[in-house]
């Protein structure tokens, strides 16, 4: 059987790789399993963005983009298989959209010299480019999200939240545990009481956690949820009649699919975001013209304009800009994996660029440097309007409390450097 597998695999490789040059963008998607509800819009957006680039501009710098999709089911073992099967095809940039898979890929991409972009997830301390040479997590990370949420509560309460009780309902995994340390520091600083409630994978059983919330009556509930956990949490909050406007989800807990099952009861639920939401971006005209009308939409084509879909449109845009930067830096159109890392590291996003590519206002202006792979760390708050069925952005993009986060990033990345004998770069 192994021999057969070998011949088939080589046959597959030979038929799959065209002779022409192309830019390979792997998409480690999860269209199946308990996290598919988030995985489908993410994968569709990413694929549609590059389909549009191919159709409209004939690729990037004249070289077509090939999106190489591999199903992980949000499972780390399959993630490894996907990484190994795609890296040999000249994959330029990995975006796994899974913190678990990210933790595995961080050492691997550094050894293989491939860029890894974990936008608003993954290992937060990867923002320190001195230690993490190939990992990027701009424009913002989990700790920024935690801080932006607390800042928002500070604003709402006139700058004082001492003595308040804030609960964190989190996915009991690396993803959900990431914000805890930041929130603990913030609770020391601002004097609020932090209540930690873990929800185990996949997150369908949350009765006891919400009973505890009903008993403890926290002033606010923050949630670090993903996949099926989100909709269950919103439903449970509605069941115990917890005031929705006091319930704030992280940016992976604020999509349409998370609130629709609860119907009108979800009205007023808030969530953070790192990208602009809605369909009011000129890029959607191009997507309509070159992708949807041409019948080239990925998946079922029903995810367009949703929060997570827009997020991977934005992720695709950032990757697009990084490829352009790499092409400009090295003067070659068909860039290599190492050139892509350079492109990511020297990426600069300006308002003019976002205007030109039809995504004005979707994210902040920022630039990446050798030291700083984390971007500006801006986040905004959105609120669900159940009757209109839309997420409305209710604050501007605001900066997080860097005085808390930067020392934490330094501490964690230095611990990683010491554990793995990594010498500091950029000196």
């Amino acid at each position: 059987m192994k021999l057969k597998l070998a011949t088939w695999a080589t046959a597959a490789l030979m038929t799959a790789s065209p002779v022409l040059a192309d830019l390979v963008m792997p998409s480690l998607s999860f269209r199946t399993g308990p996290y598919a509800v988030g995985g489908i819009p993410l994968a569709d957006g990413y694929a549609d963005y590059f389909t549009m680039v191919n159709e409209r501009d004939g690729g990037i710098g004249g070289v077509p983009v090939r999106v190489l999709e591999c199903e992980t089911g949000y499972n780390t073992e399959k993630g490894v298989e996907c990484y190994e099967s795609t890296k040999g095809e000249g994959s330029l940039l990995y975006q796994p959209f899974s913190t678990g898979i990210t933790y595995q890929l961080i050492p691997k991409v550094s050894a293989d010299g491939i860029a890894l972009h974990t936008m608003g997830y993954g290992r937060t301390s990867a923002a320190n480019g001195k230690v993490f040479s190939n990992v990027f997590n701009f424009p913002a990370n989990y700790w920024d999200a935690a801080s932006v949420a607390i800042n928002y509560l500070l604003d709402e309460n006139g700058g004082d939240i001492s003595g308040k009780k804030i609960a964190l309902v989190y996915h009991n995994s690396a993803y959900g545990k990431e914000p805890i340390r930041t929130l603990e520091k913030l609770s020391e600083k601002h004097g609020f009481e932090l209540l930690l409630l873990a929800v185990d994978h996949p997150g369908q059983e949350q009765k006891s956690q919400w009973l505890q919330i009903r008993r403890e009556k926290p002033d606010n509930v923050l949630m670090w949820g993903w996949g099926v956990m989100n909709q269950v949490a919103v439903q449970e909050a509605a069941n115990i009649r917890y005031p929705m406007e006091n319930f704030i989800g992280a940016w992976w807990s604020g999509a349409e699919a998370d609130v629709l099952p609860a119907g009108d009861a979800a009205n007023g639920y808030k969530a953070l975001t790192m990208n602009g939401v809605g369909k009011d971006f000129p890029i959607y005209d191009d997507l309509q013209k070159y992708v949807y009308d041409a019948g080239l939409a990925a998946g079922a084509g029903n995810q367009t304009g949703t929060v997570l879909y827009s997020r991977t449109i934005y992720a695709g845009f950032l990757a697009h800009m990084a490829i352009l930067k790499a092409q400009e830096m090295h003067g070659v159109a068909d860039i290599t994996q190492a050139m892509m890392v350079d492109g990511m590291e020297n990426l600069e996003i300006t308002d003019a660029m976002m205007e030109k590519y039809g995504v004005a206002g979707m994210g902040p202006e920022f630039s990446v440097s050798c030291e700083n792979h984390g971007g500006p760390g801006l986040g905004a708050v959105t609120q669900w309007d159940a009757s209109a069925g839309v997420w409305n952005q209710i604050t501007d993009f605001k900066v997080s409390d860097k005085s808390i986060i930067d020392p934490l990033i330094l501490e964690d990345s230095m611990a990683f450097a010491a554990e793995n004998n990594i010498a500091e770069r950029c000196n």
Binding site: A12, G100, Q104, T124
Partner: protein, 358 residues
Amino acid sequence: MFYREAGDFKTTYADDNQTFPIKFDRYRYYFVLVFAFAVVPFVINDYWVNAIFLPFLIYSIAAIGLNILVGYCGQVSLGTGGFMAVGAYACYKLMTAFPEVNIFFHVLLAGGVTAGVGVLFGLPSLRIKGFYLAVATLAAQFFLVWLFNRVPWFYNYSASGQISAPERTLFGFEVTGPNTSAWAPYLFCLVLVTLSALVARNLTRGMQGRQWMAIRDMDIAAEIIGVNPLRAKLTAFAVSSFFVGISGALFFSVYLGAVEVGEAFGIQKSFLVLFMIIIGGLGSIFGSFAGAAFLVLMPVLLKNVLVGMLGWPTDLAAHLEFLIVGALIIIFLIAEPHGLAQLWRVAKEKLRLWPFPH
């Protein structure tokens, strides 16, 4: 024709008792060993090692371990995932606490720690049997996962609760971490698999194995003929957990490199390994390998065929994979309830007679 005992004379008891008494079988076995040790390391690449060989070899060890407990001693266990987690976390703590010690010993020690934990959770087996024991081991599964999630000491207080394997070498070659060459972790696991299979095979056909099988077949009768159930059951738990612990340690340190207990060692892992030995064949070392191969390699093969060759959408292929693997499991179990090992046994019987039917 060539697969028969006729003319294959044995002159010593040792010859008569060997694992592969038929010459052809024995040469096939030597050939597989030589091929695995001397040919495969030269031809494999990262994909083959990380996506196919490592999971196959590591799950084989786990299946051998569980087979000793369930297949040979008849004690149903649903705690395999939890015991693998013990192996992984023990290995992590040892690797970070004693970086100067050889990784080989860390893996063996992790197996030893797991054996201790296994004995502890095996104690209820002296009083409860069958399905009730399965429920008791299920408690071990949930307790251990909860413990590793709950107590930060186990994951060295890292922010995310993940454990990551640092780089470790053996004879100057890296076997863990990202900079390994493909053959090094492969050979490392292969050596451990070979040792595990040899030890398991020789334990199960010796006195210890006969005691286990006596307990499995009828515990009261076994007690009457002088088998000490306390010793037999607890040794089964210890030996089984030792192998499962080794596989957990390898799973974390060599294969994945970074692990999160709930995701990697959840209840689904216990079921997966249990299905491996049921499909492969209870009470058979070959069955452990066959079951592991079936459940690890089949999905990868299907994925490569459906997505890589036929170009189907990845989600459709993923769903079909479930369907096909599920259907194959049912078909195999209807056709041969004793697993792939029994199919192999029947095939061998037929081969012996071939080409004459009688």
